[in-house]
Symmetry: C2
Subunit: 210 residues, 2 copies
């Protein structure tokens, strides 16, 4: 594991993966666990993460993603998906799960539940989904940071057809919609994108002191 | 620096900070640099990060954030803000900055510019701002992961009045809107929230294999 700033300097949106290099089970498990532990507003975790390894499915997905080779050539494809409805049921699921983890009855969490319900019902379904989508992007940030810190390459991707992805992956039945992708694996030694100098605004253009 | 999974287990949304414990300059610089290096779609970095240390300003902000003590008691308050307009000018700024970094004339990046313009102009201003907001949440994820990996506590916060924050911080003039906060510093030894068992859905509820 490398220092986080070194890791963030080292990482880049990998365009050409080495298809022969696969994540070990330990590396895959670590990335999955990082996603599972990702923070979210109110702790509600309005998401599911689909880890696609099947080559036939990935060939189909590639067609729904502008034929981008990362989809099939990376070791694994992570599809980050948001719950379609962040509603009373989502709150119930979370409160029941929390009660189980903390080994208490759900009724002892009634104040938490009330607070969550108040927050959730203040949003329209569209607003709730957009709020949920933002949370998914926190998880994306955690995934990218974790991968880089472990020397694992990744390419975050928004360029795909979410409806087709949902269909191919059967996400309707899971109550989620695909939102953003991360192809994860190891860079090909001749990826031209690896040679580009990282382009970031200068510190004084993005960090403002008050 | 700790292993990322240990760090993600260790971190929690800190409710009570120790006001006497401050980030060192090195720690502050590291968090700022992690934000600056955060990935974003197309590399456009549609954001600014406001680092608030002034106690008088933070007292005002606290009033616009449900009087939450983290706002004033944490070592620093990070306000993550999105560009109001992700438009042709934002693309120009990025292309010019990239040309400078790569020591080439902006005209050599005309294909990149064309691609970015195509992508940007396909969105309505509202869609562009929402897309930008999602990117800001990647930076939030990167910030939280980096802080945790360095043993620095943080509390991500959505509960505040963005319009009032923008006014107090003078963000209108910078062309950005506050989107999400992270209070950053060190937990008080008696923060009750530190005692709560972390509540996350079980692996098979969030990780789906295909």
């Amino acid at each position: 594991m490398q220092n986080m700033l070194e890791a963030l300097q080292w990482r880049y949106a990998t365009k050409k993966f080495d298809p022969s290099k696969k994540l070990t089970d330990a590396q895959l498990g670590l990335l999955e666990e990082a996603l599972r532990l990702s923070p979210s507003s109110l702790g509600l975790q309005p998401w599911k993460f689909i880890v696609v390894s099947d080559p036939a499915i990935r060939a189909q997905l590639r067609k729904a993603a502008w034929d981008q080779p990362q989809i099939t050539d990376a070791s694994h494809l992570f599809v980050l998906a948001v719950k379609k409805n962040v509603d009373a049921k989502a709150v119930d699921d979370f409160v029941n799960s929390t009660a189980k983890i903390r080994k208490v009855g759900p009724e002892t969490l009634s104040r938490l539940k009330e607070m969550l319900m108040g927050s959730i019902t203040s949003r329209t379904p569209d607003q709730a989904r957009e709020w949920g989508s933002r949370q998914v992007y926190i998880a994306l940030g955690i995934l990218l940071a974790t991968a880089a810190s472990e020397g694992i390459d990744a390419c975050p991707m928004e360029g795909f057809d979410p409806k087709k992805f949902d269909e191919i992956l059967g996400l309707e039945a899971l109550g989620v919609e695909s939102r953003v992708l991360a192809a994860v694996g190891f860079r090909a030694s001749d990826d031209p994108a690896a040679q580009s100098v990282k382009s970031r605004f200068a510190k004084d253009e993005v960090i403002i002191e008050r």
